[in-house]
């Protein structure tokens, strides 16, 4: 139980910084704001490239969020807004890389590496097994070992 609560504290501590950075949604239209923020989390800030548009404080990120907001207000769907942005900034703006020929290696590479790793592991273990030769102890060695372990020779069970 103690361990579990520690884990809980640890996890919630991890999650705080991400909440702290987000821009406060304006009160004007909470539903729209929520939609803007939700989509912004899927988009990359082009200035600080390891941040999402939702997390970034950069001026350009703010402009892009405004653009997203305006287009949503004009009735565009999320897909249409994303299409508008990728037409201008390329797929780079997608924080979540799409599955297409340029990202096949990224998406499916690990599944190739896993069987390759397993194959190498099994081959190595097989090779190791051949290396290990069972050499039974001689009587003299056994007696010495028993003496060292202070086991009564008459009672040996092993």
């Amino acid at each position: 139980m103690k361990r579990f609560s520690f884990l809980l504290i640890f996890c919630s501590a991890l999650s705080f910084p991400t909440f702290a950075k987000e821009a406060a949604p304006s009160a004007a239209d909470p539903a729209l704001e929520e939609r803007v923020m939700r989509l912004s989390k899927e988009l990359r800030c082009l200035v600080c490239q390891n941040e999402t548009l939702a997390d970034s404080q950069a001026d350009l990120a703010e402009d892009l969020r405004n653009q997203v907001r305006e287009q949503m207000r004009a009735g565009k769907t999320d897909k249409e807004v994303v299409a508008y942005l990728t037409q201008r900034y390329g797929k780079f703006i997608l924080y979540n890389p799409p599955v297409d020929p340029t990202t096949y290696l990224l998406w499916f590479g690990p599944f190739l590496l896993l069987p390759l790793g397993l194959l190498l592991l099994f081959r190595y273990l097989k090779y190791r097994r051949k290396q290990i030769v069972e050499t039974p102890l001689t009587d003299a060695e056994r007696q010495r070992a028993e003496a060292l372990l202070q086991v009564d020779p008459a009672n040996k069970t092993a």
């Binding site: 490239q49 350009l60 402009d63 201008r88 390329g90 780079f92 290396q131």
Partner: protein, 189 residues
């Protein structure tokens, strides 16, 4: 016991010993190539090259009563340079724009990006004005339409209104000589 471990270790083939070294060399080589080759992760390949330059209608910086639209440039090769009085790199590239403007090879139009009108005008007064005219993009909406990630950026737009080239960052003599001028020569032939 120790002898046994040693003997099983020596059983590893030399090939296995080489694995960490090879992995290290691959990683080191990758890192070195990124460090040396002038690689800049901030330069995102433009998605707009070969596409029509987005239309806009903006007030001219020097004469806000008049507007300018890329439509007016049909039939001409021109440069669209994104700049701001607040942008240090724009100041650094400014002499090259002046030089290009004086040479009369290509008309340069400025997109004054997220700038105060008086600041933009006083910068041009101080440094000289390489632009045929600048337009004011106060809220940066046109900049987003053009896929701008920072200033300065320069677009080469052809007679049909197609974006042919985009330079992210400062223009310098090297970019001028190897990219911009040959392209303009080719386009105006």
């Amino acid at each position: 016991m120790a002898e046994e471990v040693a003997s099983s270790r020596s059983a590893l083939t030399p090939v296995l010993y080489a694995v960490p070294l090879v992995v290290f060399l691959v990683i080191a080589g990758f890192l070195a190539s990124r460090l040396r080759g002038g690689y800049d992760p901030h330069i995102i390949p433009s998605a707009l090259i070969g596409k029509p330059a987005p239309e806009f209608q903006l007030a001219q910086l020097g004469n806000p009563a008049q507007s300018f639209s890329p439509q007016q440039m049909r039939g001409k090769v021109w440069l669209l340079n994104v700049w701001g009085s607040w942008c240090v790199a724009c100041r650094e590239e400014h002499p090259y724009l002046m030089e290009l403007s004086r040479s009369g090879v290509v008309p340069i139009y400025g997109l004054s990006w997220k700038d105060k009108r008086e600041d933009a005008l006083s910068t041009l007064q101080e440094l000289g004005d390489p632009y045929v005219l600048s337009v004011s993009d106060f809220d940066g909406k046109v900049a987003i339409d053009y896929g701008i990630t920072g200033a300065p950026e320069t677009y080469v737009i052809d007679q049909n209104g197609t974006i042919r080239y985009k330079e992210v960052g400062q223009l310098n003599p090297e970019v001028m000589q190897t990219k911009i001028l040959p392209l303009i020569k080719k386009l105006t032939k």
